[in-house]
Amino acid sequence: MTIAGAVQLTAFLLVLLATVRPLGRYMARVYGGERTFLHPLIGPIERLMHRFAGIRPDDEFGWKENAIAMLIFNALGFIVVYVLQRTQGMLPFDPGRFPGVPPDLAFNTAVSFVSNTNWQAYGGETTMSHLTQMLGLTVQNFVSAATGMAVLVLFIRGIARHSAHTLGSFWVDLIRSVLYILLPLSVILSLGLVSQGVVQTFDGTRTIPFLDRVVDAGGADVPSQAIAVGPVASQIAIKQLGTNGGGFFNTNAAHPFENPTPVSNSLELLAILLIPAALCYTFGVMVGDTREGWAILAAMLVIFIPFVVLTAGAEQAGVPSYTGGGVGMQASPGQPGGNMEGKEVRFGIMQSALWATATTAASNGSVNAMHDSFTPMGGFVTLVMMQLGEVVFGGVGSGLYGMLVFVIVAVFVAGLLVGRTPEYLGHKIEPYDMKMASLLILIMPLLVLGGTALGVALEAGRSSITNPGPHGFSQVLYAFTSTGNNNGSAFAGLAANTPFYNVAGGIAMLVSRYWLAIPALALAGSLAAKKRIPASEGTLPTHTALFVSWLVAIVLIVGALNFIPALALGPLVEHLLL
């Protein structure tokens, strides 16, 4: 890693950390039902929505009612997105005259956006009408993120409460998340992006004549080029903020209309981790001890930073066989060096490596460089960040409740080690809680490894592989790692728009989102019902450096142990073969 790289990383982390407390406190106020400076503006809209939907803001429900509410809401979202895609040819706002999307792709895309995955088996600007993009995909960008946040808030209340039978209301928290948090932040970010040149228009594809003479393969003149534009900035803002990641364009944030400048890149990068990081502080406020929130954020950073450094180091070092071939990959006053294949020159190694680590850590999935072109170790990092279960930042909401489940496992084993029935923030951890926590940890490796096994065993899966050797294996592993963790980033390379990957990936996304959210809510319900255990000398503090290290070890070991063989056959051996 170069000095310039180190400076960029440090500056990014400092800015991120500076936002944690103000945004975290603001969100805690929102979810606590307290007044904020936005209430005079948004309060009336919120009340109107409550009245329209028949929601009584003071109603509270248990975990089951909330889980059912979440499922119904998401099922409706799925139907809307699916139908919109299938019928977009008959609907307005289709300047590109795109026909209806085929069923398997429509299924995959609907699941993908509803589950906050935003895996894109299609090229947005060549497949989806403006109406589908805005009413289907962008709306889901908001509400799927808000779903994750609402589930998290219900989960946090489970930890904050004692001897309680309710967790709050999914509907109320969902609306709060959209109106008070996601919308205002999106407006600010969209304006910032537009200022950098990100396009925002309802016009269709522009046809622009070439300045120079261009000929096609047959030698015939090509008179003009088609340049896709559309309502980009508004979608980009929320896809970054809501850890969605589904870009307007196929090349995502590498596209100059999505991400034109280093400034826009920094803003979008910050937006990836902004809410997940601040939610840690919100958690601390809501459970009445901000140290607990900082501890979790610390654990995330302790994992995140070394992986950024590893990626940046690997990309900066480049590929030895090129160096042998006389290609200079060393940084020098004349050039920044490193492996620039698949990277944008306006971002360089560090911004690409940082983005790749952040987007896979945070379950965002947007890309500003092609992960497929990373060195094996760089690709290894993106895989590992997802395989840790998307708990290092993770999806908005879902990442933190995933991490809290790891905290409960860590507390359980640590509790045994100190000779006391494990307890976390005054809740005794009992068999039912371990059952739910185990379920949460169990599902993901099952999906990822099972899916990959199918992918490499079936001809339908193998035929999409575009690279030979271990890299081909990495492509399939990446696809199921991404869908099985609701990340949505793509390794590219793999021809993913096939019935097999659309259906298998769709199922992986469905299961990993809802099979995890439901046990998480059940766990929250169980925790809330428990009596408070007062802390004593024998209670293990969970905000110390020691506990943070232990938590990091648990996350790394549980993640690493499951995937070592698969990683060995993919990026590791590829690296060793370099």
Binding site: V409, V418, L442, L449, G538, L546
Partner: protein
């Protein structure tokens, strides 16, 4: 010794029955793996195997050994109790009982077998007889040999009424005879429960054990998926690399067994049984494993003052003579008045007089003395001595200050102000003043003091460092209680406590979410014992106290709770330590097996063979052998438990993570390498 291990091995083989194994999911998977590799071995013997027969055979052999080792650990843990239980059971066989046919004292009796006695029957037990079943003494007093259950050879007294009326089936009356009303149904007696507990037959899994089992099962399922999916991964990789052969099923099984937490899975039940056994060796019978575990979590400990914190009785510690009275005169009067006082307090006065002033009560004619015993009405005791000649009668009294004051005043005397002050001083220090008077003259005050047991303060300090608050319960007034509490170093006290106050106190703490432990022996303790989370009854206590408790201390030592707490904590720590160790081990096993398994497909993965193991075959075998041997190596730790020293939770965690976490990471690297060197030197692999 040899027979013990032989028995354990036999029991271990009997436990191989899959119907029994399935209760332990981790080891059940190993057993299935053993069976699968055995079949593969037979196939290889016919020449159609996926690998050389010796290699598959060696894996199969060591997998079976892994299962056997796990069962041996359980069998050894059970074995200790089994012999004890067998002896107990023998002692019960063919016991005859004399059941009374009527309720009148002269009623006749019939001989029945002990097993036919039911609750409510009344039996006569003469000297030399075994008491046929648990019961309550309704008539008589006798010395009873309870060594069969306590191991203590000194006989104890059992008598009707009061707190020493409970007798236990299987114990022997040494002298006199008792009439006992049976309180237990056949098979439900204390001894039966004890036998069942010792044998481990009725051991129920505790909540923490269940929670841990769930986590271990989750790990097992994950690793099962890891290994099953590795087969298609490997087939694909062979295709992609264009060389090598896919991973064999026997290597996959070996990898699976190495990865799943067999160390903790194999030792888990032995840890639990050993915990119960450790209790028994501390002479505590726990009626549920749950209670042992709960003991490790206790926040508050309620202790009766008398007998627990202080020696059973108050003792004379000081003579404070009235103005104008020599200490010798006071001591002499106190001594004489106590000569017939056989209470411990009275004796302590005599002892103090003897120690301080060498008085032995010589030269007094017992015949001329008339002793007046203590009564609740007079609240004094004393002696009237007829003087030789006509000097009148010496009336010496000692007792409560107001009673003696009244006595002196009725004889025309008065209480000197200095003595009043002494009395107040003594009361303020938490001691009891006993005023001595002769006729109309106050001679002085004897200070009776509760003697706090030696070393008790340190024990409470130790409890505090475990995070346990101690609360002393006493019938004394708050002043006295506060003084003793300060001296003994308890955290809090409940003075002038009635039984309902104890119950109230326990409920209050439980409402705050705390876990309360209590010791007790009397019938009036029973409600509080039933309410407490961990209730330890003294074996000398009443039947109702014993029934309300979930543990019985056969030594009747109230500070035993400390050991119980430590055993509870040890139990959890041992499980936690072995779980951490087991999972940490996997890292090294990957380094051994992954490069070996893909040696033909991706020779480049040989870079991961950082241990430099001899060959793929020896690497895989070494990992499997290490995995089996580590179980045996850790059996002593599982049985003995991790040593517990009170310290803060954070310090404990740091220490145990270093030993079992970091140690668990490093140990297998060394172990596997050593085994590999051995195998290679024998020319294997």
């Amino acid at each position: 010794m040899m027979t013990r291990y032989a028995t354990a091995l036999r029991d271990a083989l009997r436990k191989m029955d899959p119907r029994q194994m399935i209760r332990n999911p981790v080891m059940f998977v190993v057993e299935i793996g053993s069976a699968v590799t055995t079949i593969l071995w037979v196939q290889a013997l016919t020449g159609a195997g996926e690998a050389p027969a010796w290699f598959i055979g060696a894996i199969a052999f060591w997998l079976w050994i892994t299962v056997v080792f796990a069962n041996v650990s359980e069998a050894i843990a059970e074995g200790r109790g089994k012999a004890q239980a067998a002896a107990l059971r023998r002692s019960r066989e063919c016991v005859k009982a004399r059941r009374l046919t009527g309720t009148t004292p002269g009623a006749g009796h019939e001989d029945v077998l002990a097993g036919d006695l039911h609750a409510g029957d009344v039996v006569l037990v003469a000297s030399g007889d075994l008491i046929p079943a648990d019961g309550e003494v309704v008539e008589g007093i006798a010395s009873v040999d309870e060594s069969a259950i306590t191991g203590e050879s000194a006989p104890v007294i059992r008598e009707s009424g009061g707190d020493r009326s409970a007798v236990t089936g299987g114990t022997r009356v040494l002298s006199d005879q008792l009439v006992v009303r049976i309180t237990s149904e056949p098979g439900g007696g204390f001894l039966d429960r004890m036998i069942a507990l010792i044998e481990g037959a009725k051991r129920q899994k505790t909540p923490n054990e269940i929670a841990l089992n769930i986590l271990l099962a989750a790990f097992t399922i994950i690793f099962l998926v890891v290994c099953v999916t590795l087969l298609p991964f490997s087939v694909f990789s062979v295709h992609a690399a264009g060389q090598g052969t896919p991973i064999t099923v026997s290597v996959l099984v070996a990898l699976l067994v190495c990865l799943i937490p067999t160390t903790i899975g194999g030792l888990l039940s032995a840890i639990g049984i050993a915990g119960m056994d450790r209790m028994i060796r501390h002479n505590v019978i726990a009626t549920s494993g749950r209670a042992i575990e709960a003991a490790g979590d206790v926040d508050v400990l309620l202790l009766d003052k008398t007998g627990t914190i202080t020696l059973g009785n108050r003792m004379a510690t000081e003579f404070s003579p009235a103005p104008g009275v020599t200490p010798e005169r006071l001591a002499e009067a106190a001594h004489i008045s106590s000569m017939a006082d056989e209470t411990p307090e009275g004796r302590s006065v005599a002892v103090l007089a003897k120690e301080r002033y060498g008085l032995r009560g010589r030269g007094l004619h017992e015949a001329s003395m008339h002793f007046i015993p203590f009564s609740a009405q007079t609240r004094m005791s004393g002696v009237d001595i007829a003087q030789e000649g006509s000097a009148g009668v010496r009336q010496i009294r000692k007792g409560a200050s107001d009673a003696v004051k009244a006595f002196v005043q009725s004889a025309g005397g008065s209480m000197p102000a200095a003595v009043e002050r002494t009395i107040q001083d003594i009361s303020r220090q938490g001691a009891t003043p006993l005023v001595v008077a002769e006729n109309a003259e106050i001679l002085g005050v004897i200070q009776l003091k509760d003697i706090v047991k030696g070393g008790i303060k340190e024990r409470f300090a130790r409890l505090r460092s475990m995070g346990i608050r101690t609360i002393m319960i006493t019938g004394d007034n708050p002043l006295t209680a506060a003084a003793i509490a300060a001296e003994a170093g308890v955290d809090d006290f409940l003075a002038e406590a009635r039984p309902e106050d104890k119950l109230q106190l326990i409920r209050e703490h439980q409402r705050e979410g705390k876990l309360v432990a209590m010791t007790g022996d009397g019938t009036n303790d029973a409600p509080a014992l039933a309410q407490a989370d961990v209730a330890v009854a003294m074996n000398t206590g009443t039947q109702s106290a014993r029934e309300a408790s979930n543990m019985i201390d056969l030594d009747s030592n109230p500070t035993k709770l400390m050991e119980i707490v430590e055993i509870g904590k040890q139990l959890l720590m041992t499980r936690g330590a072995l779980t951490t160790f087991s999972i940490a081990n996997d890292v090294a096993k990957y380094f051994a097996i992954i490069p070996a398994a893909f040696a033909t497909t991706y020779p480049a993965l040989g870079m991961l063979n950082i241990m430099g193991l001899g060959s793929p075959a020896s690497a895989i075998l070494s990992a499997v052998i290490f995995n089996a041997l580590i179980i045996v190596a850790l059996i002593p730790l599982a049985l003995k438990g991790i040593r517990y020293a009170p310290m803060s939770a954070a310090t404990l965690l740091r220490r145990h993570l270093l030993i079992y976490g970091v140690g668990g990471l490093i140990a297998p690297f060394i172990g596997i390498k050593a085994i590999d060197l051995l195998l290679t030197s024998f020319g294997l692999g």
